[in-house]
Subunit: 338 residues, 4 copies
């Protein structure tokens, strides 16, 4: 069976490194090029863990060159950089899985509001599938372009969507308190990401202003069937990887119990290969290095609490991207992911 030829854009970061490692395990994937705008070093110098494993150097390639070599592109570029190159790739017939935020929001106005820049490819917004197979698998099957979800949204949408869909919680004023490892910050050399700034400390950031808020609201609104808002507070936690999201919402029905909520989740996800509804309180280490999501729920006082854990670099980024790749190219969905 011939392999799908893959180019990875923006290959110097953490997300790309995870992607490469996952694709090594994929029998149908061949990485043919890795790009960077500035760096031309061998990829194994940029990521020493690839020493002796991938004999490619970073290249600065035009969309045409990329399309000539590969039939699938994973973009790990920063936002707006991705949407500047995606249209041409699509025009050449290349499929694109975009790990940036560029195609997640459904209108250019929303993008401009949250990212403070005009969108480079505004007409496409509203027509791109949100790459969460658990909710949108059918649309992904036929997609040429998939907007890979943000890490926080994945951790929040997966526990909440079934509960708003089944109408057992109020879809408004849901509080989402998330704790993420530092790799979520990316690999740029910034003071705030230094070891001694992050280690032995936890802090909240972007309170009320985080760009994943509208993304969560957009998908929860689809699930609830009405425009909904959330209060989203991310926290920077001293660990490399992992997100734990705690949500607090108000039950819509009297005497809702923990086992009611757990049952709704279990039924909703009964056929999903990567979602595990558990009765205990999960820890991020339970899913570290995997594409799995562990979710539980509690009812305390007049609040439904859900707790979910993912690996932000895998299910929150590169694992989800490969899951989408498998769906698009009709490979078994778990390929390379277990």
């Amino acid at each position: 069976m011939s392999k799908t030829r893959i180019t990875i854009l923006g290959a110097a970061g953490y997300t790309a490194l995870e992607l490469i490692k996952i694709l090594f395990r994929h029998p149908n994937a061949e990485i043919v090029a890795v790009t960077s705008r500035e760096d031309k070093r061998p990829i194994s110098q940029v990521h020493p863990s690839l020493s002796g494993l991938l004999d490619l150097s970073l290249e600065h390639l035009s969309p045409k060159e990329i399309a000539a070599r590969s039939n699938c592109v994973f973009s790990c570029l920063p936002h707006t950089a991705s949407a500047k190159i995606v249209p041409e790739l699509l025009a050449c017939g290349t499929k694109v899985i975009d790990l940036s935020a560029d195609y997640r929001l459904d209108s250019p106005e929303k993008f401009q509001l949250w990212y403070s820049e005009p969108h480079p490819d505004p007409d496409r917004l509203g027509n791109v599938v949100y790459g969460l197979p658990e909710l949108f698998r059918q649309q992904i099957v036929d997609a040429n372009l998939v907007a890979n979800p943000g890490c926080y949204p994945t951790s929040a949408i997966l526990p909440l969507s079934p509960l708003v869909k089944s109408n057992i919680i109020e879809p408004d004023n849901i509080i989402i308190d998330s704790k993420s490892g530092v790799s979520g910050r990316g690999r740029a050399a910034k003071l705030d990401s230094l070891y001694c700034e992050c280690n032995e400390s936890i802090s909240a950031y972007s309170v009320g202003t985080h760009r994943h808020s509208p993304e969560i609201e957009q998908i929860i609104s689809i699930s609830s069937g009405k425009q909904t808002t959330v209060i989203f507070t991310p926290h920077l936690t001293p660990m490399n990887r992992g997100i734990l999201t705690t949500t607090y919402s108000i039950p819509k029905i009297n005497n809702l119990t923990k086992s009611n909520v757990i049952d709704v989740l279990k039924i909703f996800y009964c056929k999903e290969p990567f979602i595990k509804i558990v009765d205990h309180l999960p820890a991020t280490k339970d899913v570290a290095g995997t594409n799995y999501v562990h979710i539980t729920a509690e009812v305390v006082g007049n609040r439904v609490i859900t707790i979910s854990v993912i690996d932000n670099l895998i299910k929150g980024a590169s694992g989800a991207a490969v899951q989408n790749f498998n769906v698009i190219f009709d490979y078994p969905e778990k390929t390379a992911l277990v």
Copy 2:
């Protein structure tokens, strides 16, 4: 000036170690004895950081022996162990600062409910001052026994009390999402506290069942003037020390702004030596190793969010204990704490 002679009960744990280190800096404190029920080793073997600094061995002492040697006792014993020895110490005229949970709740029934054991000294409950000088300084001045607050309650009560007192937030259904370092678990050799179980992972625990919930509710109820409940979710964070507490509450007045909330806090704590109301989002490292509390507030959607940070071993335990000691013995309140 003669020094106050101090015995520390239960000196093998982390809280006692911090207490000893703080008391080294106190010109009016002399540690005369350190106790343990089982261990008789030199304290510097139990805590190697004390090598060459404190020439005492752990002893198993009766209350009478303790009272004969010392005029102040800090109890770092586990709950119920403390209340078994405190009455006799008080009868001998020794002042007691109790870092256990034994005298925090105001009724034996509440204690029994949350700690699943009968209280060893039930008649005293309801008459012991809660050792948070920022709220109860006048009662502490004359106290013979002080119930040193729990670490989580300190981190939650300090931001919330002024807001419920000033009537700007609803006192009910306040959500308290706390993140604590692992030292809060104590020094017992338990699987759940192992390095490899805690490192590179975050998890929630005791959801809806943590014993600090009734303690928080009790003090918030005093501040609000009515019986209130909270939803309290603690999380175990991979760091030695520090608590960050995020609270979510509903404004009682329209158009409440961040600066309104900050102003209420600044005015309330304007004379407090250890409370700093800040405009930025604080991190636990900002107060690590200190008795300070940094608090800020935000208003997002229809929610007031407060974020507060403490060092759980200092302001959350031993620093607060020395602060109470200073108040009781009429030493300047900041002695040994800056």
Copy 3:
């Protein structure tokens, strides 16, 4: 193709967990039983990361029961426990890969000296292959029992053996300064393994007395052809996994250069799938979660310095065990390991 049926002895620890995760990826392996002497819980309660993935409970099984169910046993039992059960397993025709220290040393006297206990199966010592395929692959092919190497020995022997074999360093008085993550301590609930005892701290331990010393000396002696001794100092490093070993030895030939040493290593390991000789200074994160070994060398003053990194739980334990399994059962050696 029928699968090899596997039982894992002592499945509650970290090594067994890694082993299980690796075997999930092995197309020819089926885990049929997991044992524990005391615990009877479902394995997914003991290791929550296995939730929904392995539907087995821990069992207490006799050697006969084990042999009846499985044709290969991985023993993750503590030392002496393993050698009490292995003889009967072998007698039943089951192949055994022993991850304990029981069959590594070549005489019962040496075992008694270092482990302070008589060996339960003394006659076999001296006739068991040391499971380092890079040095002893041919003997492993035909083995019924393999002594899987210790983690520190693997990290020290791999860089040193080629250098003593090729006679370019003095085989005596080699200094081996190793730094290991905390998982090397195992999963027992001990004070010294607590998060707050290990985090934010590094320390040496077992200086001059570590049980891996005779193991290293035994294999280096085989490589050098004469009885040799080493000075081995292990250090406990605040990380979950990884070993970095720095060795210092005296060149036997004048003007030896870094590239001479690197060349010897590259030639020696040119066909090895898991050994990467690198020119840069490797970090343990470069091999974390993998079966790879990265090795480099420097010449400084009159000393040859080698630096090698492994994942102590993978190449230092469970990955090596699966590599041995592949060799014994004639599966491609990299199966499940890349």
Copy 4:
């Protein structure tokens, strides 16, 4: 008693922050200015832990302005930046404690060789006291300029000097294997210092080329009375602070025992307030946050091993600087340091 007025140069880094915190506890020190070449923000914005504690902003000041305001300067500038300003400060009569490397080496040629730049103030080299009070207290008393030692040199010289002075170890080919926390890298925003690059990993760096090598050799040579060389290998350890140094040397006398070595160290340092010779294996956490040094020794095979631990930011930098300050200004040497 009037206070010594202090300016801190280069106050935005970790060393300066520690210095400020120590000086807060000093009854005879007043911080009057903090400088930065680029930053003009309030110091509490640069170091949020100083919120409400130090009401100064960073300033760019000329040597004359500094000298007009202060009678003592602590320089936390990078190398060569310090020596460009120190001469003028000294000319104005200001005492200088230089935490940079500029005045540690004893010749401009050596400086040029290791720092690849000409020294800005070459004539002074060779006449500046090395600020290790345990070895050079008498010269520090009368100094106007003190070269505060490097962190690694402090950790290596303190255990080794007494042993070479007393002639019980060979002064040549001593192997020094050091492990340092990440704060030793400083606070610059570099890729290699990012949390995700350092966490969960250990690596060697600057093998054979680290600039602290000649500094160690210079002082060991003074102690031994002859030119000596060392093999120095630093390792980056995943923790904020602390250095553990393991040294390996050859005994000069037969049958040297551990207790011989320990005795030499105990006698040598019997009057030193900050040096503790211990019988157990120390951990960096034992001295974290303090100016203490814990040292032990072992004899293994034909090697003397010493193990020493310091806090790199305190005894390895700012604590030592304040210790020097106390010696120069005739304050009790332990002031602000216990």
